[in-house]
């Protein structure tokens, strides 16, 4: 189950590699070498920086999604939360300030997450149903709030600060990448080194046994969906900052499916209880480097979708074969 360093340092020193990560690792390496041979631009530092900046929101989303999948659930509302946070943040910033805008936007995002958490953790409804419902609700609210159009033309100097979060730099490091990195580290510590993190694995591994061991399973589920939606809110804020506007369809595209796909490709079990956030990082890079490489090779986006879909199926298949042989 846990990622190697959670289990123990000496096993990392001995170079023991989690078998579930061999597949995505091999896919990533194969892709990197193929693209660097096929495209002269692939390995340039400007391209790599670009890929990292583009990966940042997905890293944040998928880090949150990891909790939902580890529990044996999933969070379909992440994309809609991105859209809702985007328009509320921009709308409130327009009339007040970025600080208030950010608070309102992320607050609304957490509100939707809390509804998810309470319906799943207290009312005991299936995560799939609940988050499918809030996917519609949050998407609808984003359209209602914005009247269906983009919110742009934010006042100075707020607009510059806003862009800093989505596309600024601290020294040579892009701000969104730094934020995503800090968040990944925090998630890694929470999952591997806290009581709550262990409870996430226990609930995902065997919910009845978790109840019978005295774990407050309802509370664990509420926290899981707060984290997943909170990550979606942060991602929504970063993505809006990059386009310095509120977009009611910002999270309506590929981003939700990429978030779930990245966790699965990374090797976290959809049945819950096995996996971790480092695997998710691997999954995110498989997706973003592939999209980038295929773009450089001028392969159109529709063909890219076919390839991403095939990789999702392949990675789950490989993992299930491994389990059968174990």
């Amino acid at each position: 189950m846990y990622e190697k360093s959670v289990i123990h340092r000496w096993q990392v020193v001995l170079g023991r590699i989690e078998p579930a990560t061999i597949g995505p690792m091999a896919a990533l390496l194969a892709m990197l070498s193929a693209f660097s041979i096929l495209s002269p631009y692939f390995l340039t530092s400007s391209n790599l920086t670009n890929v990292l900046v583009q990966s940042a929101p997905l890293l944040v989303l998928a880090a949150g999604q990891t909790f939902a999948l580890l529990m044996g659930g999933l969070d379909l509302s992440q994309g809609s939360i991105v859209s809702l946070v985007s328009v509320v943040t921009a709308g409130v910033t327009m009339h007040h300030s970025l600080v208030l805008g950010a608070a309102a936007g992320i607050g609304v995002g957490l509100g939707i997450s809390l509804i998810n958490g309470l319906l799943i953790g207290r009312a005991g409804i299936q995560p799939f149903i609940v988050t499918l419902g809030t996917l519609y609700i949050a998407a609808g609210l984003a359209m209602v709030y914005s009247g269906g159009s983009s919110i742009f033309g934010l006042p100075k100097p707020d607009v510059d600060y806003f862009f800093w979060f989505g596309g600024g730099f601290i020294g040579p490091f892009p701000v969104p990448v730094l934020i995503a990195t800090l968040l990944i580290i925090a998630v890694y510590v929470v999952l591997g080194r806290t009581r709550f993190g262990r409870h996430v694995y226990a609930v995902g591994g065997n919910e009845t046994a978790a109840v019978m061991s005295g774990i407050d399973v309802g509370r664990v589920k509420i926290l899981i969906y707060l984290i997943s939606g909170g990550c979606a809110s942060i991602a929504g804020f970063l993505m809006s900052g990059r386009v310095i506007s509120g977009q009611p369809l910002l999270g309506a595209g590929d981003i939700l499916l990429q978030s779930i796909g990245a966790v699965i490709i990374g090797g976290t079990s959809i049945f819950g209880g096995q996996g971790g956030v480092l695997r998710t990082v691997l999954g995110v890079f498989v997706i973003t480097f592939m999209v980038n490489g295929l773009n450089l090779l001028a392969i159109d986006t529709f063909a890219q979708q076919v390839i991403v879909g095939a990789i999702i199926i392949l990675s789950v298949w490989v993992n299930s074969l491994r389990r059968r042989h174990a």
Binding site: M1, R195, R198, G205
Partner: protein
């Protein structure tokens, strides 16, 4: 005593008796009466001598007391007292309401009437969490389904109910956690002795020891064990009996549910026979004839 044929088995022509997975014979009903059947089922019990050596424990104050506990049609007016240092066995046929009773005491089900007293104070649990916090542990009959998490490693199963002990400044301390897990593995001779192996890969008996280790890591002092050696090999069975006895010797109270007659005779200080949700007989396990127990769980009437 009525004829076996007319009372118990009006539709039966021949009876095959199974004991420990082997057939001990097939007989036409005409040749059998209830005594024959009981002695075929029990085998010829020969253990009273072996058992006498274990009776040096001192029994202390009552820890758990049930008064007229009932729940729907599952069990009715169950009253019993469980004392510190004591092993009480509740025996009865499958479907007699035994598992339901344990789960009710553990807070996983709600009683419809009656009282649960803990150290002489009435308690009402709304969840297993409450029961555990009050010092009660349940080792469920369905260990894979309820007792352990098969995909988690052994160490994480052992510490699952006692993680608070390994937290310093909000963080789990892997070194202390593993040290504890290794000690439990050694103490309970869990095999193979690797803390990192997935719990689901262990044998039934070792999984059972794992569940015991989980509860022995906590501060609970009342153990409810539901069929603790079902599907466990003979050698491991003996080890589990030894563990149960040492738990009692260290002042814990143990309530075992079992339908394995040898087990009942082997570990019980007192034996309660339950039939159709009611306690129908109580025995002290001193020079007790197992046939009496079988008779009670199959034919006994509530007093």
């Amino acid at each position: 005593m009525g004829s076996f044929t007319s009372v118990t088995a009006p539709l039966v022509d021949r009876v095959t008796v199974l004991r420990d997975g082997h057939s001990v014979g097939t007989y036409p009903v005409a040749q059998l009466d209830r005594q024959n059947v009981v002695s075929l089922i029990t085998g010829h019990e020969r253990r009273s001598a072996e058992r006498s050596v274990q009776r040096a424990r001192s029994i202390g104050a009552p820890l758990l007391e049930l008064r007229d506990l009932s729940r729907g049609r599952e069990f009715t007016n169950i009253s019993l007292v469980l004392r510190r240092g004591e092993i009480v066995v509740l025996t009865g046929l499958i479907g007699a309401g035994r598992t339901e009773l344990l789960e009710t005491v553990f807070g996983a089900r709600r009683p419809s009437s009656g009282k649960i007293l803990l150290r002489s104070r009435a308690v009402q649990f709304t969840s297993p969490r409450d029961a555990i916090a009050s010092g009660i542990a349940l080792m469920p009959e369905d260990r894979r389904g309820q007792g352990l998490t098969a995909v988690m490693p052994v160490f994480a199963n052992i510490t699952l109910a006692s993680l608070g002990k390994f937290v310093r400044r909000l963080l789990l301390q892997p070194r202390q956690e593993l040290q504890h897990a290794r000690r439990m593995i050694t103490d309970l001779t869990i095999k193979p002795p690797s803390p990192f192996r997935a719990a689901g890969l262990l044998s039934g008996g070792n999984q059972q020891k794992l569940v015991l280790a989980k509860w022995l890591s906590t501060a609970v002092d009342i153990f409810l064990l539901d069929e603790p050696t079902q599907g466990v090999d003979v050698a491991t069975k003996a080890e589990i009996y030894r563990l149960i006895r040492s738990m009692a010797a260290s002042g814990k109270a143990v309530l075992v549910v079992s339908s394995d007659l040898e087990e009942v005779m082997e570990i019980g200080d007192r034996i309660l026979a339950i039939r159709q949700g009611r306690i129908v007989a109580e025995f002290r396990n001193e020079a007790l004839d197992p046939a009496l127990v079988i008779d009670a769980i199959t034919h006994g009437q509530a007093a």
